[in-house]
Amino acid sequence: MAVTTATSAKGKRRAAGPLFVAPFMVLFLLLFLAPLGYAAYLSLFQERLIGGTAFVGLDNYVKAVQDPLLIHGVGRVALFFVIQVPVMLLLALLFALALDSGLLRLARVIRLGIFVPYAVPSVVAALMWGYLYGPDFGPFAQLSRNLDLPVPDFLSEGWMLSSLANIVTWEFVGYNMIILYAALRTIPPELYEAAAVDGAGAWRTAWSVKLPALRPALMLTLLFSIIGSFQLFNEPNLLMKIAPDVISSSYTANLYAYSLAFTGQQVNYAATVSFLLGLVIVIASYAVLLTANRRRTP
């Protein structure tokens, strides 16, 4: 008797695990793996307006790795990542530390103020900045004209990447700040007490206690930023309308995939490009993680 009850209880427990995981697994399969598999499948074919669909094996991949438009697009977002992300995360970190220091007046208002841009849809943000950047009637242009200064052409070829970086930074500093700030709030107060007992001031506490504790959160924001940078799409897609000579349909890799699918109706090649872009993101993320982990264990 006793034995059987024990076994059935154990069996129940065993069944409970998969059961709890099932909802996730089902959605994961349906909404993630299935589309991914379908895209992989698509990328092996070529559909043409005349002549229909044909299996072409890895031809699309061979074409894509030599496609200068794709290579330039990936190169551009890589450059964007290298410059924009450190600036954004540094700002987010500074704001989070400043808020957490408790020395700021109106801390709640400031916190909300920095976060609000994230709540603005990126479509709206890009339109708004597009207006601000305008070389004729934008406020910066008007101001410099009134001061008899040269009008900065934010939408020119040389400035465009910085202008995009500025929009993205403005949008996402608050978001990253909130993650870092939340992580700071979870640091046990005993650590601060111990630091104080050891005679550490505010700067020393920030450097030796807060920053190490923030490492996991920083890694998280960095990973999000890698993905966000390489998938840059909304902002260039919208600024394209006002600077069509600077932002081409292959300005970023994601924009290129979109144009291929919806302008050129080359869905199969677009799937290939998306897949390769995904691969680049995985490699970049892994490289960053590896570097960071190596530093942790010197």
Binding site: G134, P135, K241, P244, T263, Q265, Q266
Partner: protein, 463 residues
């Protein structure tokens, strides 16, 4: 930052008439279309449907779905439902121009969710006939409607084997709107030829460096195609199902390239993107003395540049050959029936009724301010006699009705208009904006399109 297909159009509420300018926007962002080239190889299904079958279908309770972005079209649809009470039409706004075509293509590919009838711009028709997605309307009596429409509009909806792919709804024959006050101030005559236009551009900009005679938007392939059309270019000629001759850089187009590229390089015309906030502001503040536009332009402008009321006038486009006035078309739409419809008779009857029933067609002109495609409206005293105070009491409709009769009837669109439009912006448009060699850019446009067409399996001739 996930992929999202939201193209934000610059139109706002008070610019709702912008919707008329369908061609304007969608060509710019991404035209999807293919030209009058043939697509259907099944010529068997051209036997007329009997009147008895039609009567029966129109009395059978049916629900039809109609995708359109025409504002307040429920009024016209109500006329149809009143005449055929058994048929209910569900109107869906699936986006304006390109976004709608993208959704339509997706639905067609998925094999479900496509509407019965759809609004489609002239330039987009071939893009959907190449995929065999539209229903030939001849068996439903469409051929008999030919005489009601202006010749060139019928040419635009006809296939190479005489198919009728859609019924014209509104049009955009091209003309020029100009600021009479600016012209008067600087003693500029309304240019009758492009040579005079170029001279006026130099004179005006010299007299006032803040003012330009016009703006040729570097993001507007639709306007460029219209100017090609006026000049008599035949950039795309399709024959059979898979043959296409691409000649976007032929002698006529090179003449255009030299002309506009030259003016842009000299800096005497603007090249900024159109339908942006800066562009609206420029029109309001008198930065540009003309707007080269289409028949939907006058009403659109009166809503978008209110500060300048009374200062504008309309004129035909300047001409290459003053003895043989001609024009092109920019914008305008049609109603087509999707081949997969389960109710082809009712859907075809709807497409025809909507645009040929006298009350419905007239309503488009008076309610939506569409520029008509039918001969009867273009000659009706009520329509052409209307004087517009925004244009100093000028009879603008009469002027554009006259222009409509000079539009060349044989212009064709490619079966991959999105690609043609994007490639134009990245080659020719870019050369205008960057003030580089536009004729050379025409060559890049040509080679890009040729490569694309070959990659899509077309047999490309010429070039």
């Amino acid at each position: 930052m996930p992929i999202s297909g939201s193209f934000v159009s610059p139109s706002s509420m008070n610019r709702r008439l912008f919707l008329t300018a369908t061609g304007a926007l969608s060509l710019s962002a991404a035209l999807s279309a293919c030209g009058g080239g043939g697509s259907d190889d099944s010529s068997a299904a051209t036997d007329p449907v009997g009147q008895a079958d039609i009567d029966k279908a129109m009395k059978t309770p049916t629900e039809l779905t109609f995708w359109t972005w025409v504002p307040n079209i429920a009024k016209e649809v109500a006329l149809f439902e009143k005449k055929y009470p058994a048929i209910k039409v569900k109107v869906v706004n699936a986006g304006q121009g390109t976004p709608q075509y993208t959704k339509l293509r997706t639905a067609l590919k998925a094999g479900s969710g496509a509407p019965d009838m759809v609004q489609i711009e002239y330039q987009a028709i071939p893009t959907f006939t190449i995929t065999n997605s539209l229903l030939d309307l001849r068996p439903y009596g469409a051929s008999a409607l030919k005489e009601q429409f202006v010749d060139w509009t019928w040419g635009q909806v006809s296939g190479s084997d005489g198919e009728v792919w859609a019924i014209p709804q509104d049009t955009g024959p091209m003309g020029m709107l100009y600021r009479k006050d600016i012209f008067d101030k600087h003693g500029i005559e309304v240019p009758g030829t492009w040579d005079e236009f170029a001279a006026a551009a130099r004179k005006l900009h010299k007299a006032d460096p803040d003012v330009f005679l016009t703006n040729l938007a570097a993001n507007q392939p639709a306007a460029w195609h219209g100017l090609q059309w006026q000049a008599g270019a035949k950039p795309y000629v399709t024959s059979g199902k898979s043959d296409i001759a691409i000649s976007v850089d032929d002698a006529v187009s090179r003449k255009l390239g030299e002309y506009w590229g030259g003016l842009a390089k000299e800096g005497v015309i603007g090249v900024e993107p159109d339908f942006t906030d800066a562009w609206y502001a420029a029109l309001n503040k008198g930065k540009y003395a003309t707007w080269i536009t289409a028949a939907w332009g006058p009403v659109f402008l009166s809503g978008s540049a209110k500060d300048t009321a009374g200062k504008w006038r309309a004129a035909p486009l300047p001409q290459w050959d003053a003895a043989k006035p001609s024009s092109g078309n920019w914008g305008g739409s049609t109603t087509a029936v999707i081949r997969s419809t389960k109710n082809p008779i009712a859907a075809a009857m709807f497409a025809q009724f909507l645009n040929t029933d006298p009350a419905s067609a007239r309503m488009f002109a008076t309610e939506q301010f569409f520029f008509p495609a039918t001969k009867s409206l273009l000659t009706s005293a009520e329509f052409v006699g209307e004087a517009s105070s925004f244009y100093g009491g000028q009879k603008v409709n009469e002027l554009f009705a006259g222009i409509s009769s000079t539009v060349n009837a044989s212009f064709q669109w490619p079966p991959f208009l999105d690609q043609a439009a994007t490639d134009w912006t990245e080659t020719v448009g870019k050369s205008l904006a960057d003030k580089t060699d536009t004729v050379r850019a025409l060559g890049s446009w040509q080679s890009r399109l040729t490569t694309y067409a070959k990659g899509q399996g077309f047999t490309v001739k010429g070039g």
